[in-house]
């Protein structure tokens, strides 16, 4: 039920945006609950955008994880189970 799918905003008319979910699926989405511009990504739940997402954020998160996980690999004192 709490499923939300990210998609890219193609155009905006009033409180409704055309959003591209990939694979040619383009749907009208109500954007009353967010402030968003064309070209940004939104997270969509039951036809309403609930958050604006940055593609960069996802990449930065993963880069950070890689760094954290590898640092632990190199520091024996951080590996209590090793």
């Amino acid at each position: 039920m709490c499923l939300a799918i990210p998609g890219k905003v193609l155009e905006i008319k009033g409180n409704v945006a055309k959003v591209d979910f990939g694979n040619g699926v383009i749907r009208d989405v109500d954007i009353t609950l967010v402030d968003v511009d064309v070209g940004k990504y939104v997270l969509v739940h039951t036809g309403y955008a609930i958050q604006v997402m940055e593609e960069e954020d996802a990449r930065e998160t993963l880069d950070l994880w890689r760094e954290i996980l590898n640092v632990f690999e190199q520091s024996p004192q951080d590996k209590p189970g090793a």
Binding site: M1, D35, I50, A82
Partner: protein
């Protein structure tokens, strides 16, 4: 299939291998229980086989995270009553087959009631606009993720659309789980999309008051594994705190516009959860000024107290993670996805349904 770049990297094998290794290194040998409260998390965990990747000492249990499973039978009976008394009931597909005391909305339809399944409350508003002279009721279920949509539509929807509100709130349910003496949860994976709306603040009390490690996590397999790892790090260091794994969709403040919309239209009140009983301040009710849009005010709905649990069904124990679905005597015997007895087997987000479809038996 082309996936959006914001999520596809979160299935990276290299990172998942590393994460599983770290989890195994850090996991204590004493058993511990990590609880999530989201049907979508359970889907990811079971569908991706994440439990099989974890050390035996780490149990991932499913709390009351399926919003249709926890709607009391009495409130489904109200929807069924409306459908059988000339009102068009509009609902999400997840709710369509969930049994009330006796009947589901699907049963009501087969008895001549007008029940329509939609993807969004916008569809209900559009139907009401196109059907003047008819009474429409939207069965407003769901957690904090779904309440803002109804908060937007209540003031602006056509006069002939009212709302049967059965929203429930997640943080009070976590209080309920944390306070259960015989459940003994060691950490909570908080639901990502509920948190997109409410932000991080409402979870602060779990580490502070209960000493409960709490991590907000997203829904890709890597998100859940990282959430588990972050909880284990907290448990290992003995410093419970609130962390946000799903930072690409959850901010500290959450969606302030959505919160304001909900606050304008709803009050938090005590509410019953199916099979669990009443949880303080865990339900939403339309404010007095919107009582004209409240289906319970508009129609003289006549239903009894409701029977939440089918005889022999263990949904109340499954819902709080006290037992797993395969420990219920009805699971895959008298109760199957085709012929469900309990709410947890009906919904695609019910723990029993997910286990029935995705677990090796």
């Amino acid at each position: 299939m082309r996936r959006l770049d914001a999520n596809s990297p979160f299935r990276d094998h290299e990172i998942s291998d590393l994460l599983v290794r770290r989890i195994r290194e850090i996991a204590p040998s004493d058993p511990l229980k990590l609880c999530h409260v989201c049907g979508t998390h359970e889907w990811t965990i079971t569908h991706s086989g994440l439990r099989s990747l974890l050390p035996e000492s780490v149990s991932l249990i499913a709390g009351p995270g399926c919003p249709v499973c926890i709607v009391p039978a009495q409130e489904i009976d109200e929807a069924v009553w409306l459908a059988l008394n000339g009102v068009t009931v509009v609902t999400f597909g997840d709710m369509y087959r969930v049994p009330g005391s006796e009947f589901s909305l699907e049963d009501a339809k087969s008895r001549g009631g007008d029940v329509r399944v939609v993807y969004s409350v916008r569809d209900a508003a559009e139907m009401a606009s196109n059907g003047p002279g008819m009474d429409f009721v939207f069965f407003a279920i769901g957690f904090e993720t779904t309440a803002p949509m109804n908060a937007v539509e209540v003031p602006r929807s056509p006069e002939n659309l009212s709302f049967l509100v059965s929203h429930r709130l997640i943080p009070p349910a976590i209080d309920f789980l944390a306070e259960m003496e015989d459940l003994n949860i060691d950490g909570v994976i908080a639901p990502g999309h509920v948190s997109t709306v409410i932000g991080m603040r409402p979870y602060g009390r779990f580490p502070e008051e209960y000493g409960m490690p709490t991590v907000i996590a997203g829904f890709e397999p890597l998100d859940v594994l990282m959430g588990v790892y972050m909880l284990l790090r907290q448990i290992e260091s003995g410093s419970p705190r609130l962390e946000n794994e799903y930072s690409r969709a959850v901010t500290y403040e959450g969606n302030v516009k959505a919160q304001a919309a909900v606050d304008e239209v709803f009050d938090a009140v005590d509410g019953a959860w199916r099979g669990l009983g009443e949880i303080p301040s865990s339900a939403l009710q339309l404010k007095e000024e919107f009582s004209g849009k409240d289906a319970r005010e508009r129609f003289e709905i006549d239903v009894g107290l409701g029977r939440d649990v089918y005889p022999g069904c263990s949904c109340p124990q499954v819902i709080i993670g006290k037992i797993t679905p395969d420990e219920c005597p009805l699971f895959m015997r008298a109760c199957t996805p085709e012929k469900p007895k309990g709410a947890c087997m009906v919904s695609r987000e019910g723990t029993c349904n997910i286990w029935a479809i995705h677990s090796p038996l």
